[in-house]
Subunit: 303 residues, 2 copies
Amino acid sequence: MSIIAVGSLAFDSIKTPVGKKDRVLGGSLTHFSNAAYFLSRPKLIGVVGNDFTEKEWEFIRSKSEALDGVEVLLEEKSFFWEGYYSEDFDTAHTVKTELNAFAKFAPRLPENYKAKGDILFLANIDPVIQKQVALQCGHCHLKVLDTMNFWIQNAPDALAEAFDAVDAIVINEGEAFLLTGEKSILKAVEKLLKPHFQFIILKRGSNGVMVFGKDFIVSLPAYPVRKVIDPTGAGDSFAGAFMSYLDAKKVKKINREVVKKAAAYGTVVASFAIEDFGVDGINKAAKADIESRFREFEKIASF
Amino acid sequence: MSIIAVGSLAFDSIKTPVGKKDRVLGGSLTHFSNAAYFLSRPKLIGVVGNDFTEKEWEFIRSKSEALDGVEVLLEEKSFFWEGYYSEDFDTAHTVKTELNAFAKFAPRLPENYKAKGDILFLANIDPVIQKQVALQCGHCHLKVLDTMNFWIQNAPDALAEAFDAVDAIVINEGEAFLLTGEKSILKAVEKLLKPHFQFIILKRGSNGVMVFGKDFIVSLPAYPVRKVIDPTGAGDSFAGAFMSYLDAKKVKKINREVVKKAAAYGTVVASFAIEDFGVDGINKAAKADIESRFREFEKIASF
């Protein structure tokens, strides 16, 4: 078993209240892999341009099991995002988005990605593409989709079709409210939780995370981080670590206990993500650091 | 051992997005006792006017161990608050406050309140009075103070003196930011956590609660309530249940484990408070309901 992950590989220029970095390696796929790495290196599906140097290849190679699904478009540049965070770190403000190679993203599933029992993670991309990939992944026993405001507002029908093709979704609290028109978490989730869903992950930023199954709720606070540097990629890092836990434990049947452990593990890994720019926070953490912080998180939040 | 609680006994007229009630029994002392009741009925110190009928007396008598510290001012009416909550239930908007008898509140400690080892809880009142009572309670082994925006903005020096006279404080996240000028929880708490404090309780409304000791942090989410009716008194209910747990367990030394259990218990009892108007949510809960929800909360939030 392994994880197939589909998403963006990008360069980010990020300004936060405590600093600034130009063109650091980013993108949902990068952050997802970086966080999954400790328990389960995923097989990647993405696209890059001619500006992806050996340094970037080396990084994503080290964090993944296979790159056969990563296409190179030599006449394009890679996806580029420039943005900043205001003083509370809560909202990312976009200055510039250049889709570049990503505009031509037409993911295909390499033969060596077709092992039975894989987990599929569809990071936040066009729901039309999410659905296409999900339909190619009949062999996957768990298909999880992430989305964002842009698709909720501009492609609600395609998004609804993509929901029909997956087993679980990852969504921010604000996005869930936007999508359902509700202002209460439980009411929003009631509308979102389709009969075929195994779970919904509701990301709540600095307020933690909730996971809703058919017959259970899980709610965890965030790990209290002393110095936030850059929240970019925290959500994808949570998802990567969460999925890697399910994969490492060879989970076939989702239940509350495993979801709770996966969510706690995801919370801890994501807490490293925000302690430095781009991938550096998690990348410089050792497995022992994560285990030690997991035990600390248990002391803080498990009673 | 028992709890001495000082605060307001009031009538509240409350409008929320789901309904409206006129002149229900309220006030910090009422909510505190209502929540403490299941584990430790407190000795009350407060003041009421000529409009406090046998119905109200019967209620607070049933929830308390002693009322000798409750003064009656026959020429005054009781404290009255009128307010409403907007759609997210997060902020209470005041329409009218009539201090009435409360303006003449001069608490004194009856002789039968002077048992060694008592816990003192000073609900949100004038910090000058909080300090006066704290100084009368040398026999109390734990003195806890709650406050609010009004005193932070209008009586910061008196509040600082009151802080010096107690062992712990209860404060909202927003109030902690206001008081310290910080926007990060950990930085705010660092400024607030005086050397003589045993703990700080940081109330975060629907985002849960954190408790900070000298060498520990505790963080719990809120209990997910399906239908919020009226959040009035949730914070005082949390405090009442939290303190009652410490009292019932005869806690002499604060540590992480007991704080975590007390905070989880407080979270559960407070979740009943918001499910109906005024005191009704908790009042109609049986001890078995609380125990059952505590076990459910463990399943949701303890991993």
